[in-house]
């Protein structure tokens, strides 16, 4: 599969994530969109990993080139999990205080 397709797909998902972050007001949805962005990156990394592996495979059949890409995905997932736990905790804390998760509502701090 041409690598461009993966790039386009990934960028599309990433951009959809961005659009989501920019257009939604619900903090949880915004956060979900961030997760979507991360997943787009994951997909791209895996695709690149396979691309590099393919290139290396042509010369060295025992190569493990490209494995770092997949491992990076693994670490991204780790971080994402940690972030989610903290992020949701913060959102819940916020909700407890103001009974809303509307990010437009967050404007005590400005100017």
């Amino acid at each position: 599969m041409p690598i461009q397709y993966y790039i386009y797909l990934s960028l599309a998902l990433f951009s959809i994530g961005i659009i989501g972050v920019l257009t939604r007001r619900n903090a949880i949805i915004v956060f979900m969109c961030v997760e979507l962005m991360l997943n787009a990156v994951n997909l791209l990394l895996v695709a690149f990993s396979k691309m590099h592996h393919g290139v290396a495979l042509a010369t060295d059949p025992a190569t493990t080139a490209g494995i770092d890409g997949q491992l990076f995905v693994f670490f991204i997932m780790v971080v994402a999990a940690a972030e989610v736990s903290v992020g949701l905790a913060i959102i819940v804390m916020m909700y407890r205080n103001v009974h809303s998760v509307d990010i437009n509502f967050l404007n005590r701090l400005k100017n």
Binding site: M37, V41, L45, D68, I76, L106
Partner: protein
């Protein structure tokens, strides 16, 4: 490596010490002792006396520059703990956990000063950021703190996304996460670097600019610094930010070949925007805390010069700048935290009530403004000198100097409030030890202002 392991361990120790005692001063002493230990361990590492040797497979590299920065960062943290440690309880009751988080942040800093690939950069930044999200929201019943925390978190994770996209594209272009890897895919134009690598670096640049609050990616800074409990703002705005710069420079210095001349245009745009927004917006702030937030943006503008110049002088300069800026800001925040009113009016008449506080604050403010005989002067001096040495960007230096003059305006507003205005600056209890600490710190700031080599020689000895 010593520092990374020990700081993580110390984090755990602090965590558990919370179970044993809840006495804040005991915790403070434990933390201070831990920091001393950390400094010692790091120094041992620096001089190759005792090293925990772990094969990092090239993911981390510990050279003098990074290790020296670690020492300074830990030292600054020690100063911070000594001055503001007892005020941490103002933020919330979980003092032990806060100290633990601070140690985790230091772990992240140690990684950032030694990363050798994008993976460790990513991990380091996350280890740095996640505790900060928490610390920002530490004052749980304070809506501002909540808001700051959520804002910081949302924007931070968004930026993480951007950064990861950059890393992915970088990986696509080079096939590696290592910084020194050349583009494995030959470029069409011969000398042109891979487009995707450049685009990747651009996205990484945006992400790093966000972390060091360079405009126009600075928006989180005022709100978060303002909303976070004062003690943690102090920590975030100084040591953490300096670490961000170290990472920034580490990342981009290795890529100078890849970055074309356009890089400088974009960078100078960012520098000017940062100086402009930081300085100009600070002028009309009513709250000293918020003013300091903007001022930290402004100072970031100066620190970006190191990136712009990218020479030896810049490397020395960024260290000196970090120290000068951090010490002065820690000092001011230590005083600010003691105030019951964070607005400028809250400082009215401080000179009468607490002349020592006012005097030392004045020294710190002068240092931030870059007045000679204080550390801040040589910090700015090195930054500008680095740029001038590269040649051709004198106009940028002149613009920067103009903004330095603007910065005098808002820094001196504090001095005016303290000395020239009548008022009853209410503070919490000021101990003699605190005053002594401030005086020592101020003396050190002046000492650096006269002999900057006491910091810079650390590179060579």
């Amino acid at each position: 490596m010593n520092a990374i392991i020990l700081s993580a361990l110390l984090g755990v120790v602090m965590m558990f010490s919370g179970i044993i005692t809840n006495n804040k001063s005991v915790l403070k002493y434990i933390a201070a002792a831990g920091l001393l230990l950390l400094i010692a361990a790091n120094l041992l590492d620096t001089y190759a006396l005792f090293k925990i040797n772990i094969n990092t497979h090239g993911l981390l590299s510990f050279e003098k520059f990074g290790l020296y920065f670690n020492t300074l960062a830990f030292g600054a943290t020690l100063v911070y703990v000594c001055l503001s440690g007892s005020d941490i309880e103002k933020a919330g009751i979980n003092v032990a956990e806060y100290f633990a988080l601070i140690f985790f942040v230091l772990c992240g800093i140690s990684i950032l000063s030694g990363f050798n690939g994008l993976l460790m950069l990513f991990l380091g930044i996350e280890i740095l950021s996640i505790p900060l999200y928490i610390l920002t929201g530490a004052d749980k019943r304070n809506l501002k703190s909540n808001e700051a925390s959520l804002k910081y978190f949302l924007m931070g994770s968004f930026t993480t996304g951007i950064m990861l996209m950059g890393i992915a594209l970088f990986y696509g272009a080079t096939g590696s996460f290592a910084l020194n890897a050349p583009a494995i895919i030959p470029t069409t134009g011969g000398i042109n670097p891979s487009f995707l690598q450049v685009a990747a670096l651009l996205l990484l640049f945006v992400a790093m600019a966000f972390k060091v609050s360079a405009a126009p990616f600075h928006f989180w800074t005022p709100d978060v610094y303002d909303g976070a409990p004062g003690v943690f703002t102090s920590f975030m705005a100084t040591i953490v930010k300096a670490a961000g710069f170290i990472a920034f420079i580490r990342l981009f210095q290795s890529q100078s070949v890849v970055l074309g001349p356009t890089w400088k245009i974009i960078l100078s745009f960012v520098i000017i925007a940062t100086l402009l927004i930081g300085n100009i917006t600070a002028v009309f702030q009513q709250s000293v805390k918020r003013m300091l937030a903007y001022s930290s943006i402004a100072q970031a503008g100066f620190m970006l010069f190191a990136l712009f110049a990218g020479n030896d002088l810049a490397r020395e300069g960024i260290i000196l700048y970090s120290v000068a800026y951090s010490l002065a800001t820690i000092g001011i925040f230590a005083v600010l935290i003691k105030m019951s009113d964070y607005t400028f009016d809250g400082f009215n008449g401080l000179a009468k009530k607490h002349p020592v506080l006012a005097f030392t604050t004045t020294i710190f403010l002068l240092s931030l403004a870059g007045i000679p005989l204080t550390a801040g002067f040589f910090a700015k001096y090195y930054m500008l000198a680095a740029v001038v040495k590269e040649g051709g960007a004198l106009w940028l230096v002149i613009i920067a100097l103009f903004f330095a003059a603007v910065s005098v305006y808002y820094y001196f507003k504090v001095i005016q409030a303290m000395y020239f205005k009548e008022g009853d600056a209410e503070t919490t209890e000021i101990t003699g030890a605190f005053k002594t600490g401030l005086v020592l710190l101020a003396a050190f700031v002046i000492l650096i202002g006269i002999w900057p080599s006491i910091i810079l020689n650390g590179f060579y000895f």
